[in-house]
């Protein structure tokens, strides 16, 4: 059995009377793409927020590379190697695509309390950043402010920034959201290659992507994991079909 | 004798707290519902005081002056909202700060132009000019007690307004989700103008009432505004209950601090140096309290969401 990179046990989170996360346990193993699917309101994004550290869980443990990260903040977890992308692109709007990626490169290289060298002339920042942009096909738009990029370009920039962190695990929150068929296809290709670098926990609605990519699928309904298994196992699972009212599967 | 003095200071603290509550309630409503920080609130306080003093001097009636102050402040508030604040809803805080700071300059200098640099005087209305006996033997100004009474009445009134009326419902809904209530067809523009005018009227009322205790002059509003900010920070933005608790706390701590600290330090450092040190520290006391509260509750005691 491959090494467990991310291990979530009995995670709980309630907002008042609403159980957003109800005793969730799941694993992310090395080399795999583990998709997390479920109807709207199932609590997928809340779960991602808890893993990333943006929301504090009420109970349960989150272990990353064997270490309990439940008490750490977002930035600390990112430094440990948890690379998260956002469902709604979260970018530094005034900075160019290149400078956005350079922030991630700078973070990976260590201290940000340096004032001596201008970043734009620092090839140890610009070159790796440009390489990431090339990987997602944005090299030609490197100097365009993030606010002026198209929606699909912004999604790709999200990915590039996350890649630049060289994380030990990826948390992708609906990366396909709003992408047309062309964009989705190339993104699927990219994610497919990524799994060798680090395992991916992929929250997605786009079922084509899920079926093409996932080694394992977990289904979240009303905050609970109702099934975990391979794609074919999940497709034939009656409870899952019921949860989706027979759609998609 | 000491008890009487203490009771008097406590009542003074409450009266000070009432004034702060009137300012803070308006400010916190405006921020909670509209997301705008309004530095010009002190100017509205000042306008209320000036309107009251001017009308009272012209007609001889404090009560007419009071009505004038409410009307003037509310009207000024509505105009400010329509002309300026309306353009600030989607702007960042820096722009709001600068625009409302500009309003302070305009109102202050404008008032100085109209009324000159000398303070106006406002007399306490005859019916409230007496004093009543307190337990312990002191006598306390009836007027100040009336102010405390007004504060309690306003607090109850606001509570009823917000929890029991349709306007209040819209205000509460607006605090949680601005876009939603617009989508539901509530006339946001009018709601905002009404809320702003309401907050302004409260400020004007505070200014008018205090005008009879101290003089009415340009610049009287800003120190009160800053204290109201302290109240809001302590109480939590958007919470009227927080404004009430915070105002009482600030009013009492400040008044009692200024009364007791000089005496306490005089015991250790002798009368002259002790009084000086005590007075200087007393002037910093509420800010220290604010800092302490923030250390444990960075969003105040009753922030929305806690």
């Amino acid at each position: 059995m491959a090494e467990t990179v991310l291990s979530i046990r009995n995670l709980r989170k309630s907002f008042g009377a609403l159980k957003a996360t109800d005793n969730v346990s799941l694993d992310l193993c090395a080399g795999e793409i583990h998709a997390l699917i479920g109807p709207n309101g199932a609590g997928k994004t809340t779960l991602i927020h808890q893993i990333a550290g943006a929301v504090k869980q009420d109970g349960g443990t989150i272990a990353f590379l064997g270490r309990d990260i439940g008490g750490l903040g977002v930035a600390e977890r990112a430094r440990l190697g948890l690379g998260r992308s956002f469902q709604i692109s979260s970018l530094a709007a005034e900075f160019s695509a290149l400078r956005n990626v350079m922030l991630a490169v700078q973070s990976r290289q260590g201290s940000s309390l340096r004032v001596l060298r201008p970043v734009m002339r620092d090839s140890s920042l610009t070159e790796p950043a440009l390489a990431m942009l090339e990987r997602v096909g944005l090299a030609g738009r490197a100097h365009v402010p993030a606010a002026e990029l198209s929606h699909g370009e912004r999604r790709r920039l999200e990915i590039a920034i996350t890649l630049a962190l060289r994380p030990r695990a990826f948390l992708f929150d609906e990366p396909m959201a709003g992408m047309g068929p062309e964009g989705s296809k190339s993104l699927i290709g990219l994610l497919n290659d990524l799994r060798q670098e680090a395992p991916i926990l992929l929250v997605e609605h786009d079922m084509d992507a899920v079926f093409a990519l996932a080694d394992r699928v977990s289904v979240l309904v009303y905050g609970r994991v109702v099934a975990t298994g391979s794609v074919s196992e999940i497709r034939s699972n009656t409870e899952v079909r019921r949860a989706y009212f027979g759609e998609h599967l | 004798m000491q008890t009487a003095l203490l009771i008097e200071q406590i009542l003074n603290g409450l009266q000070f707290g009432v004034m702060l509550f009137l300012m803070a309630a308006g400010l916190t409503l405006i921020f909670g519902v509209m997301g705008v920080i309004n530095l010009a609130h002190g100017s509205l306080y000042m306008l209320g005081a000036f309107a009251c003093a001017a009308v009272a001097a012209a007609t001889g009636s404090f009560w007419l002056g009071l009505v004038a102050s409410l009307a003037t402040a509310a009207a000024a508030g509505a105009i400010v909202e329509l002309l300026v604040v309306r353009r600030l809803y989607d702007r960042d805080h820096l722009d709001q700060v600068l625009a409302t700071f500009a309003l302070i300059l305009i109102f202050s200098e404008g008032t100085r132009w109209l009324f000159g640099s000398f303070p106006l005087y406002l007399d306490i209305p005859p019916v409230l000019s007496g004093a009543i006996d307190l337990p312990g033997g002191a006598r306390y100004q009836l007027y100040r007690l009336a102010i405390i009474g007004v504060g309690i009445a306003v607090a109850i009134g606001l509570y009823l307004l917000i929890s029991k009326t349709r306007l209040g419902m819209r205000i509460r809904a607006g605090q949680s989700d601005r876009e939603m209530i617009a989508a539901l067809g509530v006339d946001i523009q009018t709601l905002y103008t009404v809320v702003f005018a309401l907050g302004a009227a409260l400020a004007g009322l505070a200014g008018a009432m205090v005008g009879a205790l101290q003089s009415v002059q340009v610049g009287m509003g800003e120190p009160v505004l800053i204290l109201a900010f302290v109240v809001i920070v302590i109480g939590g933005i958007g919470s009227i209950k927080g404004a009430l608790v915070g105002a009482a706390l600030v009013g009492l701590v400040d008044t009692l601090g200024r009364f007791l600290l000089p005496k306490v330090f005089a015991l250790f450092l002798g009368p002259s140096e002790g009084t000086t040190v005590g007075a200087a520290l007393a002037s910093m006391l509420i800010y220290v309290v604010m800092a302490l509260i923030l250390a444990f509750r960075p969003r105040g005691l009753f922030a929305a969401g806690t």
Partner: protein
């Protein structure tokens, strides 16, 4: 590829103008204009400090007068003790006063830096509106303390009998003092530019634009912001010390909320976050103050109207108007 910013030539022009005017005034024996230019330089320096926190970091501090005033009072108190030959304190060590600028400046910067550290540590844990109100409140607290502490003048402030001394320069000559202030301003502008273009500046501006994104790439916003706030306070503190020497007087109004507002106005008028914004803003402000102020005592009414217009319609300030929007490469 390095973009040529159209802002740089305009900035050099403004800085050059600021140097030319007092030189011309000296040649024409009009010391008043040298003093005016010195005032511009010092206010610009104070605003460069604020620009670090506000323009780059997005930290709307309405309490920077605290640092301006602390710098001023440091200069005034040290100079007073130097002239009366009374020590500042005798326990645990004896500390005397000083009338040397080279001593006063570091002390002023260290003190304002320490105060900025405390205020920043408390207020940077909050956000948005809270931060504005808290910085305002702390500055007010220091103001009230200063006017109720009689040892150093209380409401009357602290006079400086003589301008403090700088090695090899006769500081009482207006042009000499101007050149000292101007040199410090240029140094500050250079430092600002280096910070803006550095990794620290990138993280700081990243925190301003999107702190969630910054944390997600592994950089905590808080230490970055705190460091920027402290640097910012130190620079404004230095300006305060110079201001005390310019006027040979420390007024408690240096600590007032009006002063804090004035500093923010300077930045807006010139262009928030722009390198030469503070210079443009200070020049504009002092011009308005002298020209409009010459016509009417109520000139601040017009300042308010201009400011309101600028906020509502001309957001980029003077530099924005002349040089266009910022290009972040």
């Amino acid at each position: 590829m390095k973009r040529m910013r159209s802002e740089t030539p305009i900035g050099f022009l403004l800085a050059g103008l600021l140097l030319l005017v007092p030189l011309a005034a000296w040649a024409l024996d009009e010391p008043f204009y040298i003093t005016l230019a010195t005032r511009v330089a010092i206010l610009a320096l104070a605003a460069v400090g604020l620009n670090l926190a506000l323009g780059l970091g997005g930290l709307v501090s309405f309490g920077h007068a605290a640092f301006f005033g602390i710098g001023g009072y440091t200069a005034g108190i040290l100079a007073t003790h130097a002239s009366t030959l009374q020590p500042l304190m005798t326990w645990p060590i004896e500390v005397g006063g000083s009338d040397q600028m080279l001593v006063i400046w570091p002390v002023a910067m260290i003190l304002s830096g320490l105060v900025a550290l405390v205020i920043g540590a408390i207020s940077l844990r909050t956000s948005g509106v809270y931060f504005i109100m808290i910085t305002l409140a702390f500055a007010q607290m220091i103001y009230y303390f200063a006017i109720s502490w009689p040892a150093y003048g209380g409401e009357d402030g602290v006079p400086l009998a003589l301008r403090n001394a700088f090695p090899a320069i006769v500081t009482s000559l207006p042009l000499n003092f101007f050149l000292i202030c101007y040199a410090l301003l240029i140094a500050a502008l250079y430092l600002f530019a280096r910070i803006r273009d550095s990794r620290f500046g990138a993280a700081l501006q990243g925190a301003r634009q999107n702190e969630v994104r910054l944390a997600a790439v592994g950089i905590s916003p808080f230490p970055i912001r705190l460091a920027a706030f402290v640097l910012s306070g130190m620079m404004t503190g230095l300006a305060g010390a110079l201001f005390a020497d310019l006027n040979r007087f420390v007024s408690p109004s240096m600590l007032s909320w009006q002063m804090s507002g004035e500093l923010i106005v300077l930045i807006l008028l010139g262009g928030t976050g722009r390198l030469f914004g503070p210079v443009a803003g200070a020049m504009l402000f002092v011009l308005l103050e002298s020209i409009l102020g010459g016509f009417t005592d109520r000139w601040q009414l017009f300042l308010g109207l201009i400011l309101l217009g600028a906020v509502l319609f001309a957001r980029g300030g003077l530099v924005g108007l002349l040089a266009g929007k910022v290009h972040h490469g």
